[in-house]
Amino acid sequence: MTAASHQTFAYAPAPESRAVVDIAPSYGHFIDGEFSEAADGKVFKTISPSSEEVLSEVAQAGTEDVDRAVKAARKAFTGWSALPGAERGKYLFRIARIIQERSREFAVLESLDNGKPIRETRDVDLPLVAAHFFYYAGWADKLRYAGFGPDPRPLGVAGQVIPWNFPLMMLAWKVAPALAAGNTVVLKPAETTPLSALFFADVVRQAGLPRGVVNIITGDGSTGAALVGHPGIDKVAFTGSTEVGKAIARSVAGTRKKLTLELGGKAANIVFDDAPIDEAVEGIVNGIFFNQGHVCCAGSRLLVQESVAEEVLASLKRRMQTLRVGDPLDKNTDIGAINSAGQLARITALAEAGEAEGAERWAPSCELPTAGYWFRPTLFTQVTQAHRIAQEEIFGPVLSMLTFRTPQEAVEKANNTPYGLSAGIWTEKGSRILSVASRLRAGVVWANTFNKFDPASPFGGYKESGFGREGGRHGLEAYLDVR
């Protein structure tokens, strides 16, 4: 053998082809089984945040469009809710299967419109979307076994407003249980990510779903407000910021509308001195950099036991150096683009606040593309609970690292937030997992793992992270007339 020489294994570009998806120049609303233009003709553009390329033009729904959609849903409700559950279930099974068949197309579309890596849309988002429809399809004819009485009835028409971070997945989380329980829906995707919902309308068509059962209207915050404020809906389901969630909660007071909210978070990811270190570092990285940190349940506060802080930090920095930031359609990209200029500005401002307040900022050296919205995965150390970056939801790839001395202190710091969506616990000791988990004020606790989702597993928050659960048997409650 020749003498050893220094090597590097540079990955060549591995682009997923865009040819699988065919984006039309413009889309209208999908109301009562067909596409139509906005009543007042207003439109807006949706771009690819990794390149700022315009992908398509979509309609801005005004009050007239919202009204028409709600009426269509109301009209369809009579027939849909009267169908035997087994028949509703078979429609949902069809939808699930079609999504599986068209997975690649939807994955590419989602990566283009949202900015997240194709590896994630392909391996995480789309499988979960199909799985949610499969799961709730099976409940449609088994509602009497769900623990809500012998014959639980649907609520009626659900108005659903979803965010931009997991567009199609959030659609699945909302539409699948609503339909399984016998409701009809009007859904508004986020203004920066309308396309996968509009393509979903085509899946609805292919599945032969009766007209008006699913209606998709596009627009910005004003459309969302008009929808949730419409007197003709029976149920409001919202996933988004805590601020807007509170506004919605105020607006439904005095009405008959039932409400579930899935809002922000500032999750603590707690690493104890007996954690499996390499796996914990993977969990930390996954917890905050998966989906560019645009995750309500992101592990954005790393709480490390002080005795192992140095070791964990060194390991974490070393791991962060291998993260690949770049073209979302490259199959080797780990971190994609920030979803919008607005979000990028917010992340940038908070990161600057972190520095201004005395935390130490570090990021791996990686080249960023010139066009599009990008932010390096960033780590702040020397952070304490008093810092803004430990309190406010950044919703970006920014991790704040704090330390603690004892399990009791870890729990106190973890709970010291108005939020309560999720938390992580890393330790080899089972009894510590259970003891800490029982004391954490969070709706989802991950032990020795993070950011794991399953349609069978209820998801939702405590405190200002919202109320109600999505997923599991519990997720049916939001769409049944049971309280």
Partner: protein, 333 residues
């Protein structure tokens, strides 16, 4: 200790650092406390990380690089009861010129045989830079007295082996006699020393399939490295479960941590069950993302394989011709 070859070092302070850890291996209980005090391994997390590394998409130039690198890292192996000088010579010819239609194809790193085939292999490989690796210590089971195992090693070294692949005593390991395992490795290292003071390079096989748990694999890694292993190796290739990506990833993490702590660089060799180019590339990705470039070299990473070579050659042919290849276009050895 002074008669053992010098510690293969990365860092000038390595020898001192190792010496300062002598108390860890002073007694069975001290060694047990150390090994059992290493961080635990979460199996689900480890396997998920390995699977994620396996999703890297290695195309075009990166693939060409990986294929050639993988070929150059192969310990081309025949370890059968039916081995004959003819078979060994054929294998050596294959390792020297893997692709008769393309002289640019790299040579393998070594030919791996039983001790009584070493001389034949050495003769066949004269004039090349390909090493002869010999298994030893009553491979594969390792169930013989220390005297027999050391004699086995000495025979292979005397016959000219450049590298020795020994097996640890799994029975001793699983019954907690760590110091006995440690001392056996040291004894074999001593048996690798030649009259002129040079030494055959020692690889230590754990037989991960028999060690069974990831915690055991981590402990065996540290034990072997403290004992002076030049390479740590996953398996003999002779049992049901041989090299796996998670098991190898764990060993890559161990050599990384060992170098960080002690300053000594140890190589890693997965063996058995790696049959396709796709598999081999996943291992190289794991090496690259866990360890960076320092181990991406046949001096520090090897594949113990036989049929892998032909699959690499067929993939290499596809890259250059654009056509899928077939068994008619690679040689049997």
């Amino acid at each position: 200790m002074s008669s053992l070859p010098p510690v293969p070092a990365f860092d000038p302070e390595a020898a001192d650092r190792l010496a300062s850890m002598a108390d860890v291996t002073a007694s069975d209980s001290a060694l047990r406390r150390f090994l059992h005090g290493l961080p635990g391994v979460d199996a689900v997390g480890l396997e998920a990380r390995a699977a994620a590394l396996g999703t890297r998409s290695i195309k075009t130039t990166a693939k060409a690089y990986a294929i050639d690198l993988a070929i150059s890292m192969i310990d081309l192996t025949t370890l059968e009861g039916a081995d004959t000088p003819g078979k060994v010579r054929a294998l050596c010819a294959k390792g020297t010129r893997p692709d008769p239609t393309d002289r640019a194809a790299p040579q393998v790193a070594a030919i791996c045989v039983y001790p009584d085939m070493v001389r034949t292999a050495k003769e066949a490989l004269q004039g090349t830079t390909i090493n002869v690796a010999s298994v030893a210590t009553a491979f594969p089971a390792g169930r013989a007295s220390l005297r027999v195992k050391l004699a086995d090693t000495a025979d292979a070294v005397a016959a000219g082996a450049d590298e020795i692949d020994m097996v640890i005593d799994r029975g001793a390991f699983l019954s907690g006699r760590y110091l006995s395992v440690f001392e056996e490795i040291r004894a074999v290292r001593l048996a690798c020393v030649r009259p002129d003071g040079s030494a055959a390079h020692l690889k230590v096989i754990f037989e991960n399939g028999e060690l069974s748990t990831y915690d055991n694999i981590r402990r065996a890694s540290w034990l072997a490295m403290l004992a002076g292993a030049g390479f740590i190796k996953t398996s003999t290739g002779k049992v049901a479960v041989n090299a796996t990506l998670p098991g190898t990833l764990l060993m890559l993490e161990a050599v990384r941590d060992f170098r960080d702590m002690v300053g000594v660089q140890v190589g890693v060799k997965p063996a058995g069950g790696i049959r396709t180019t796709k598999d081999a590339v996943k291992y190289l990705v794991a090496v690259s993302e866990t360890l960076g470039g320092d181990w991406l070299d046949p001096h520090w990473f090897r594949f113990g394989a036989s049929s892998l070579l032909n699959d690499l050659l067929m993939q290499r042919q596809k890259l250059s011709t654009g056509r899928y290849s077939g068994p008619d276009y690679v040689t049997v050895d």
